[in-house]
Point group: C2
Chain length 293, copies 2
């Protein structure tokens, strides 16, 4: 059973689950476990790991259109090294600072593998769910795609400093707040653009048509991809970019884009059917899923 | 470096850390990572694991005197088995129900070892810290001690059904709320009574005198301990009982005890010195610390 099958099994039981973060009593809450084998390539510094682990949870808060209140992280390593732990905490604090949240500590453990579990908490009385997309809404993404895919390839080729820098993304909390009240549906791109679009379609009961040429591809992707097809694949399916993927009524798009501190790009449009197409061809529901390999 | 050394190193940097839960903006937040090798003896069901993992975090919320709002958990196993996962979630939901909190889901991952990380969130504008004990306050504990120690020994001897039952404790949220405004200092006994008393002493800058005969020992302890000395040791040093350890002014004790739905037992008294004694002998600062073995 892969993660999505397990999540489907649980969704019926847990009404608060099934979106980027659970909503309860004016709070949004989200937790993520990351570990060395699957999430931190060789060369990832503990500073970057702390930044990225906590940033992944803050990205889920952003995807609800909430303000970010605070984050905690559990840190487990084969041995507790003071310098590594200090670096991790510094990274966690610094990413919190970028979104005006407070890092308030966590738990320590020894474990057979470097493992972190971060939880972020935000506030909003008006969360943006995945389920509100309407036909003809523009499908939009913040920032650029492929950044993490490029980083992983750069780790493999030994360019660890640049890779670490690319791995330390700014969670789109400010953009999420700005899009609240405008976006009809929103989530983050942690599982890749393709999977995100499929999830928005399922939650909103609509289809999508994407325009390949509109995709905002991160400049680092061209340095690692052999050709345009690979660049597109890295930007669409790899995921872990932690950009926002949302739908915005066409009439609101220009104002929403101009109000944002980061780029907002329309890459397609919601449709009446349930087909999910890119330049007319079916877009595979393919991406990063824990537990399926 | 063991966990306490690492925590000391971090405490200076993280003002929100160093108590049972971090306090931020009217919320208390706490996270705990547990894993098979150290926290779930062979025979522990996934239902019990879900109950206990989330219960451990709810216990930290209780120790702040806060109401419990919600909890999330990350669940990682070597493979995602639907039945095991369902049992875990049911246990997590059921322990939340005992304290009127909502279990709102979490994250799934595959991992080399069964590992959970739970986070609980509570609310209070008036948290009880570890630092307020005054000389002559009575040192009190809720419920009974040694329950988890007995359970671990029962797991070893194959009495898994009884052991699982003992492992599923009720977090003392209701008692914590009742003690708010009365208790001058409070924490939970997750690291054992002895270590808790040392931590209260350090935070409150006082000493303690314990009375061995006053210790409320769980009835299961007598079934697994060979003699009174072993029973005392299991009740004092093993920990993971998740009872509340607090200090209460003597004048308030009777009313506080009578208002509680669970037993509240005075087991000693805070003192002016920094000595920590039991029946006149030094009480070792010994207990359960991750990372020191």
């Amino acid at each position: 059973m892969d993660e999505r099958a397990a999540l489907r099994l649980l969704a019926a039981d847990l009404p608060g689950a099934g979106d980027d973060a659970a909503v309860v009593d004016g709070l949004v809450v989200t937790t993520d476990m990351l570990h060395e084998a699957t999430d931190f390539p060789a060369g990832t510094t503990r500073y970057t790991a702390g930044w990225r682990a906590v940033g992944a949870s803050l990205s889920d808060v952003a995807a609800m259109g909430a303000t970010a209140t605070c984050a905690v992280a559990a840190y487990a390593a084969t041995e507790l090294d003071a310098s590594e732990l200090g670096d991790f905490v510094q990274g966690a604090r610094d990413v919190c600072e970028t979104v005006s949240a407070e890092y308030v500590g966590g738990d320590l453990d020894t474990h057979s593998e470097f493992t972190t579990a971060s939880t972020a908490i935000g506030r909003t009385d008006d969360p943006v769910f995945r389920s509100g997309a309407k036909p003809d809404d523009l499908l939009c993404v913040t920032g650029e795609l492929g950044r993490s895919a490029a980083a992983v390839l750069l780790f493999e080729s030994g360019e660890t400093e640049r890779a670490n820098r690319l791995f330390r993304f700014t969670p789109r909390v400010e953009a999420g707040i700005s899009l609240r009240g405008v976006a009809t549906a929103m989530m983050d791109s942690s599982d890749g653009l393709a999977r995100s679009v499929h999830q928005l379609a399922e939650a909103s009961d609509c289809g999508f048509e994407l325009d390949w040429d509109a995709l905002p591809v991160h400049e680092a992707v061209s340095d690692v991809a052999d050709d345009d097809a690979e660049a597109r694949s890295l930007s669409t399916y790899f995921g872990e970019d932690f950009e926002l993927v949302c739908t915005v009524p066409e009439a609101d798009f220009d104002a929403a884009r101009d109000a944002l501190g980061v780029p907002l790009t329309a890459v397609g449009r919601a449709t009446e059917t349930t087909d999910i197409l890119a330049d007319g061809d079916p877009l595979p529901d393919r991406g990063y899923t824990h537990g399926d390999d």
